[in-house]
């Protein structure tokens, strides 16, 4: 990179099933003001803004810069909007990173959000289909996730079981109790998960995250500004993004190449050679419990088929050798368009030592992972306490 870039502030709104007390601009403002306050700056100090637009339908109005811009202080400032599936928030941060690294701007704020405008939940993740190919099936993400989970279980028969999925949910829900920002903060048991009703087999209700409304924001700055404003910024050491872009049938769902490649890009940039030992904690995008295991393998943290064993042995627990989702993960807090930025925020907070009760001791390098679309688009960010 031409210039070093660090996270100097993060902010999250209150998450609720429905945030009907505010309008969308006010919701985004809540997170943006928190991030600026955390960074010790005001809107006037921000050189440029990136807004993460949610996928088309949950937001009828496309011109988010028009109504959200003024709420976060972006009026009259450089602004760009990125779009993607559920990984859009992570992409927004990476866009902000490129802008600062390029030398164009010193301080950039990226914001992401989710406030559902369509009452019928079925429309909220409907647009996975390729209109030229499988429009007639109209499957939502949960169906793809069910196919993915079964594919993964079949490939590693005897090594990965349905209980492993349940154990992920149990672990992450337990971690969420320690995270004051988390949406769902109550513990469950493996039995609860196994006995919960089937959504798309082998996925059951308690294997799924519960979608909520909320917003997140992150402030990044160049090295000079970052050092001035923050005694211990979380440096962005590596970024990667990859879409397999092959329509659903091409994707190896149990070991998605997009995730492997996004990680490779980020690892190369961050000088991560042995993910399992070079990283101190990771936040992965566990919209569905099984996915935590799949991402850990595709990220090179566990060998294929071993993520279940790693979990059983406590390796991914909050006090394990490589805690996974210490924040409670997406399964505890899923403000869809913002969830992937929340992973980055949580990873950055771990690096800055500001994670409070769910802080992993001595984190020097943390990874944030995100997926989106039809399980074919992955984004990876690595944060570091040193340069």
């Amino acid at each position: 990179m031409a210039r070093r870039v660090g996270v100097i502030g993060t902010g999250q709104s209150k998450y609720e099933d429905h945030r009907n007390d505010v309008n969308t601009p006010e919701l985004v403002r809540e997170a943006a003001l928190a991030a600026m306050s955390d960074a010790g700056i005001t809107p006037g100090d921000v050189d440029a803004f990136v807004i993460a637009g949610a996928s088309g339908f949950p937001e009828e109005i496309s011109f988010s810069e028009n109504w959200i811009g003024p709420a976060i202080g972006a009026s009259g400032k450089p602004l760009v909007r990125v779009h993607a599936g559920t990984n859009v928030g992570a992409n927004a941060t990476i866009s902000a990173f490129f802008q600062v690294a390029s030398g164009a701007f010193d301080v950039v704020l990226a914001a992401s959000y989710n406030q559902r405008t369509i009452e019928d939940f079925r429309f909220n993740s409907m647009d996975c289909c390729d209109p030229l190919w499988d429009l007639g099936f109209d499957y939502p993400q949960s169906t793809l996730a069910g196919l993915q989970a079964r594919f993964y279980l079949s490939r590693h028969e005897g090594k990965i079981t349905e209980e492993h999925g349940a154990m992920v949910a149990v672990k992450n829900r337990k971690n969420a109790v320690l995270n004051p920002c988390a949406h769902v903060r109550s513990e469950i048991t493996v039995e609860d998960v196994m006995n919960s009703s089937e959504v798309a087999s082998p996925i059951k209700v308690l294997d799924c995250s519960r979608v909520c409304d909320g917003a997140a924001a992150i402030v990044v700055a160049d090295e000079m500004k970052a050092r001035k404003l923050n005694p211990a910024p979380a440096w962005i050491a590596g970024v990667g993004a990859c879409s397999e872009s092959r329509s659903v049938p091409y994707v190896d769902m149990a070991y998605p190449e997009s995730c492997v490649r996004a990680a490779q890009q980020a690892y190369q940039m961050a000088w991560v050679y042995e993910p399992a030992s070079d990283l101190d904690t990771v936040e992965v995008h566990d919209t569905f419990s099984f996915q935590e295991l799949i991402w850990c393998e595709a990220l090179g943290i566990c060998e294929p088929g071993t993520a279940g064993k790693f979990l059983e042995l406590g390796g991914s627990m909050l006090d394990g050798e490589l805690p996974v989702n210490p924040s409670g993960g997406v399964i505890s807090t899923n403000p869809e368009g913002a969830s992937s930025m929340v992973r980055q925020i949580e990873a950055a907070m771990q690096v800055m030592g500001k994670a409070g009760d769910h802080q992993v001791p001595g984190v020097r390098r943390a990874l944030a992972h995100a997926w989106g679309g039809a399980i074919q688009y992955s984004v990876v960010t690595v944060f570091s306490s040193g340069l």
Partner: protein, 164 residues
């Protein structure tokens, strides 16, 4: 598995696929808009906000200033009279056909407000509409809490201009 080297001329290709969607959206207003629309509905009052920092009087009412980003706290009651800033006679049907074409629309600067309001013009011949023309809101009898609780703005009488 057979290899096919030429495209059979016997089949008539399928050229497109169609899809239909019916969607219902609900946007939450929050406190400020919520009060604004309620006053419009219940009291025919148009409320704006004043920025104590830059002095602007603004619509729509929001908890922050669109000009200088300061938090806003001061509500002000605006007049339902003003002047046409710009106007257009529209012949293109709108997507949702909410308004019959042709119609006259305008950006109207309400007295005391620093930003114009988009609305419709009525009770006037298109050819008589002028920039700067004084107008007065004509309210709907049955109001729902929306900008269209004002049916349209009509030209103000000469007398009422003086007396404003």
């Amino acid at each position: 598995m057979r290899h096919i080297t030429e495209i059979s001329s016997k089949v008539e290709p399928v050229t497109f696929v169609e899809d239909e969607l019916e969607l219902s959206f609900r946007y939450w207003y929050g406190e400020h808009y919520g009060r604004f629309y309620a006053e419009l509905r219940d009291n025919r009052r148009i409320l704006g906000m004043r920025c104590e920092k830059c002095g602007s009087v603004l619509l729509p009412p929001r908890p922050y200033c669109g000009f200088c980003h300061a938090p806003l706290r001061t509500w002000v009651e605006l007049s339902d009279k003003g002047a046409v800033d710009t106007f257009s006679i529209v012949h293109t049907p709108n997507a949702k056909e909410l308004i019959e074409t042709p119609y006259a629309c305008a950006m109207i600067k309400l007295d005391g407000c620093d930003v114009p309001l988009y609305h419709l013009l009525g009770e006037v011949e298109f050819k008589d509409i002028l920039t700067g023309m004084r107008v007065t809101a004509v309210w709907e009898e049955v109001r729902k809490g929306a900008l269209r609780d004002i049916r349209y703005f009509r030209p103000s009488e000469q007398r009422s201009i003086r007396s404003d």
